[in-house]
Symmetry: C2
Subunit: 760 residues, 2 copies
């Protein structure tokens, strides 16, 4: 049990380390040679040019202007300056709503902190049961918590009332946030410029027809059943092999370029490579010739494969993107059932072209259903039994094991320092590797489940990760033992006993979670802004692979908000805040600091760094709301358990109404707002259609949609045509803010600091 | 513990009483004066005329033809003769699918019975643990059950394998039945003649508009958002007061007719009545004059109210029936979201006109949500705490209580015979009354929940009743104590303990449930065919109220399949069959007999008696499937509990896969078939539209739909017009079977027996 002083010291250390990160960030970002690491968003938008073009050689790489260093924290107000509406224009609704989650945390927890410090801390502090009981294991933290209130005390009424107040406040904020986000989404969809997905519907499970090709079948079906509205369609090719070839070729090109660069710098020696795996063994050959040959070979294969895909009817998958003459008709088709067999002709909103996950488009209905069953079972086992393989690996990866496999290392390992290091380090490393790989594993599982868009894959992975965090981080920290042992214990306990067992341990774990918030939350967020991995990767690529300006563009890894693993982590902080708001209010300020700091950092990152891979229009928000409600209900159940163990039996039944009301509130919100995220109202579609017909009576929609949904590997020759269209309509439909912004010199308004480094 | 002989005796008694019912039925139904009680369906169809028109006076009332009595069981083959397709034509899909539930019971349980008698009974019988243990409390029944197998025996593998076989067989049958029913529904909808609900959508929560009336607002909204398809609409009047007046007037008319009849039969004395409540007190007046005056007064009020409703804009509810030019457009509108606010302009399929529950059409969204919360809580309390008020009433209704309230009864009550009778009878009567009232209570609760069609009200009530039966009849019989005590015990038990507690008691209750099946099932079904209550009511009405042929028509109470309380009862038999199929196979033949007998009886009733109030196209079937799956999962969990208590711990984990697979199967079936019951595929709509356009190019759809959705109280003057339309299209669209059947003399083909009594 840590005292307040301990916590303060720990907070100081973590604060200092966070500040160290920030200072490092402030210095690194001012160096022109890091510009593409810390401001890739502006490069991708085409507003910022390479700083290395002009000026003295030295100032190309190092910023020598001392004044700029003095203003090293200026990015913070700059990050807050951009108004939300422009942020949506700049980074998309997904990102704008994502950072609103942190703001939501502030909205919920700032009043909760104030209230609990005003009411609960005095109530807890003045009871002094712990002092009376002469129990020496308590700390000052515990004096402020519910543990300090004696069993059966009348003071629990304060906690009971506050539980109600907190729940109502949380629900109130959640209701308004959901309302706001759904309005933002509708406005976003309404104000959006013309996009192919507004007119298109993804049709899956096209039944086979002996007399017609898939394309003809689709055309006939929609001509008959949507006679006044059907416009065109694009079949989906099974181009997975081709896509693999393209990726392979890109890798080879990278290698070739690396050796070319090497040769240019040092032309005395022709670089060589080995033909075996990863150039590690095999015959030694001239590297440049070898890779040039390889690329040529692959290019030929690629062309023949490309031809095969385009001509082979078997390469056409039973799926198609069907486009309609109006948004209204697309909305109708996406929301209705087409055939009397509900497993055929499945229609859904087409994801936007870059959001499509192509390889999943052809999975038949029954197989989909079986895949989901298997993945549900796998998720269960992953969540509860992941420790088993890790323990197995740990048992193998001991000193003796290593000595057996690699006896030549024996003398090194036997040294005492090395030995103790390995013994201390090894057991943890398997777990660490697993945790780093976990998001990838979950994403693979979601892909197997057969979702057809990147955004839905992200959402599904987030759901799995949330379960994992809930069971293994939250419950795992409170109760000792592995997740499986907990599960085993839980199914042998009664429904009333489980919240009691968990609830009783809650106050004792407060200090642990405070430390967790500081280490994982504060320092983690500060680490996020430093972007160490992309920084290193960029400079490595820059050194070895970059030749042209375009190469440099490609070397830049803007990254994106990793929704699938970030959102469940935020949910953990919400859960902690809600659980401890009544129990140990001292934890709340730490949560508030986390949310405030993270809001600032992610707002900065979204403005300057991240480049979203897709735009789903905040389609993830219903998940966020649902998980928050889950957290709220968990906190209420645990409070019930804790209260009943504290001898406040008469007040516990009063708490039962809380989860009932909360769940009802969730159902109400769901029916009230969720349709805005799933369906597209006909009224809005009609408004947009009418407006478009009036402003652009001669629009050639067919030409616009012709190649919108083409597999990315076929896109090379089409992309220019498309972007031309984009540009043109931009000027017609959204002529104000976006274009005017482009013509102003750079992003100076919102990132004055950044322009110091010589951008644009 | 009853022996096989005891059960046999009980079976004999119940069989005899069932046969007595059947004989009574056979005799009563042959009497011409009961003809309208036992064959109302044919009268309502207009095929059968009153037998009292012709023949000798005596034979009008009593059937003297001895030959017909000899064939008194002929109704059984007659009931089976009508093929299913004609049954659907004759009685509608709802009824046809309803009796398929009994058939489904046979399909599941006949093979289960054969298999379990072939495999499990020998396995149980030959172990003989009970004999060895010299425990005298066992019976022959127990020897055949799983109780006879010793703890930890290898023989449990037989039960385990059979549990899998039974589950797979049940799922196989369920899958094919669901498939069959969904095809039947689609065929039914496709072959249906033109009905107003095919073209109409019920729009609720029309937002208020300051400048327009509801009608104008609806018209403008749909003209804008469905420009090519909108045809017409009908606003909904709040005619609840008017409907009450009409009902009141009908009651007064009945009374008037009663006194008129009385006066005609005995014209010496003018009948008198009292003006107070129910004619029990108040001033004595001439009855005929009094009621004539009252009716006149009420008629005037009714006319003014009718005018008020038609002219007052406040009497128009914010709901409307919107009709479209084609089925396609109606299908589109019903399945899509109209406005960006999903709580406004809510569209759903219009129920058919006679299915509409008018008074619920105007409930706003938020209120609906609150009502459902309150009713969910109320259902919980009703299910678990209903014993509390009943116990309270029972405590009041004892001998002393009665003597206090009504001291004049004291001498009578104090007599020993009467006293013991009352003491034996009173405690049960409160419960009995509650159970009789229960379906009405549940229906009222469903009405408060705000459902808009009679069919959905029936479905909701069935869901509540199912919960009640599950908790209070099934669990209540297995575990002692009230539902509340069970609940209390359950929440203090662990998740593994609950199935064990219940599972262990399962084999011991087999004889109880066998008796229950015979008393409630066999005798209940036999009572259903006798129709005692409608028989008595008909003759009472006939004696006092009937003057004209039309009165007699009205006195006839055809009744209908009471889905809301019958279906949950069937589910109990399914549950019992599934639970005991592995545990005590001897119970299965009783279930099989029940399903066979009930199938026969209800098929007869549906052909000859029931007149459905609405036709929902078997919309209830997904509920039936879901509850069957619930039963299956319960049986699997209880088997797991039982097995683990029998020391077969190593095989119990193997059973966990069963519920997982079953739930997955349910989800698969749900996504595969449920859309057929909820949505209407555009392809089918288009086919019907195209066909209709081809066959009837000059159809005036507007005139057809003009008055389709008018409140029944306004319908008097419109109904003739409507029926004329019905007739006309009948001849055009469905000219074959239906009309030809009408022209053949009566129903002789399927009810040869019935024609003996002089029908048609």
């Amino acid at each position: 049990m840590a005292s307040v002083a301990d916590i303060g010291a720990s907070a100081l250390i973590n604060l200092l380390s966070a500040i160290a990160f920030l200072v490092a960030f402030a210095i690194l970002r001012l160096q022109p040679f890091n510009d593409r690491v810390y401001f890739p968003k502006w490069y991708l938008k085409g507003i910022r040019g390479s700083p290395t073009h002009s000026g003295a050689l030295m100032s190309k790489f190092v910023n020598l202007d001392a004044k700029t260093y003095l203003r090293f924290l200026n990015w913070m107000p700059a990050a807050l300056k951009m108004p939300e509406s422009e942020l949506i224009d700049h980074a998309g609704l997904d990102s704008a709503v994502y950072i609103r989650i942190y703001l939501l945390g502030l909205k919920i927890f700032v009043p909760l902190t104030i209230l609990s410090f005003a009411v609960l801390v005095p109530v807890n502090w003045t009871d002094g049961t712990l002092v009376k009981s002469k129990d020496l294991t308590f700390s000052d933290i515990d004096k402020l918590s519910i543990s300090n209130v004696g069993a059966g005390s009348k003071r629990f009424w304060a906690h009971l009332v506050m539980a109600y107040v907190f729940t109502f406040w949380t629900c109130y904020v959640l209701y308004h946030e959901y309302k706001r986000v759904s309005i933002m989404r509708l406005q976003f969809l309404a104000s959006e410029r013309r996009r192919p997905d507004q007119f298109s519907v993804l049709v899956r499970n096209v039944p086979p027809d002996t007399y017609e090709s898939v394309g003809e079948h689709v055309e006939h079906f929609f001509c008959v059943n949507h006679p006044d509205h059907y416009l065109t369609h694009q079949v989906v090719y099974n181009a997975n092999t081709l896509a693999k070839m393209v990726a392979q070729k890109k890798g080879l090109l990278n290698r070739l370029r690396y050796y070319q660069n090497k040769y240019e710098r040092n032309s005395s020696k022709k670089p060589t490579t080995k033909t075996g795996f990863c150039g590690l063994w095999g015959a030694t050959v001239d590297a440049i010739d070898y890779y040039t040959d390889e690329i040529e070979k692959l290019s030929k294969e690629e062309i023949s494969e490309r031809e095969r895909v385009m001509s082979d009817p078997k390469a056409i998958m039973p799926a198609a993107f069907v486009s309609f003459k109006s948004r209204w008709a697309a909305a109708v088709c996406a929301q209705t059932q087409q055939s009397s067999n509900p497993t055929l002709w499945l229609t859904e909103w087409a994801p936007e072209p870059r959001d499509v996950f192509w390889s999943n488009l052809a999975i038949p209905f029954v197989e989909l259903s079986i895949r989901r069953l298997i993945m549900a079972v796998a998720t269960f086992f992953l969540t509860f039994f992941f420790m088993i393989p890790i323990a197995f690996v740990q048992s193998l990866a001991n000193i003796e094991g290593i000595e057996k496999v690699m006896p030549f290392l024996k003398p090194l390992i036997e040294k005492k320092v090395v030995k103790s290091l390995i013994q201390g380090f090894l057991p943890g490393i398997a777990l660490k590797i697993f945790l780093i790989l976990l998001p990838t594993i979950l994403m693979t599982m979601s892909k197997i489940e057969g979702y057809t868009s990147l955004s839905s894959l992200d959402r599904r992975s987030a759901a799995k990760y949330h379960l994992f965090v809930l069971v293994n981080v939250f419950l795992g920290s409170i109760i000792t033992g592995t997740a499986f042992q907990q599960l085993d214990a839980f199914i042998h306990q009664s429904a009333t006993q489980i919240p009691e067992t968990v609830g009783v341990s809650i106050p004792m774990k407060a200090t642990f979670f405070i430390t967790y918030i500081m280490v994982d939350g504060w320092a983690g967020v500060a680490g996020e802004i430093l972007r160490l991995v992309p920084l290193v990767m960029f400079h490595l690529k820059n050194a070895f692979l970059v030749k042209t300006e375009q190469d440099r563009e490609e070397a830049m890894d803007a990254g994106s908000v990793d929704f699938a693993s970030n959102e469940p982590r935020i949910q953990l902080y919400f859960l902690l805040g809600l659980v401890y708001s009544v129990v140990t209010p001292i934890l709340l300020p730490f949560i508030v600091v986390f949310f405030g700091f993270a809001y600032l950092v992610f707002r900065h990152q979204i403005i300057n760094v991240y480049n979203q891979k897709y735009e789903s229009g905040a389609a993830f928000y219903p998940d966020v709301q649902r998980r928050l409600i889950i957290g709220l209900v968990i906190s209420q159940l645990l409070l019930m358990g804790l209260m009943s163990s504290k001898g406040a039996k008469q007040s516990t039944p009063l708490l039962i109404a809380l989860p009932v009301l909360t769940i009802w509130f969730h159902r109400f919100c769901k029916s009230r707002f969720e349709p805005a995220f799933v369906k597209f109202p006909l009224q809005d579609a009609m408004v947009k259609d009418t407006l478009e017909r009036a402003t652009e009576p001669n629009l050639n929609l067919r030409a616009y949609l012709q190649d919108a949904y083409i597999h990315p590997v076929f896109k090379d020759d089409v992309s220019e045509k498309l972007s031309a269209y984009d540009e043109e309509e931009n000027n017609i439909l959204v002529p104000t803010k976006r274009t005017s912004q482009r013509s102003t010199p750079g992003q100076s308004k919102y990132d004055s600091e950044a322009s110091d480094t010589g951008g644009s």
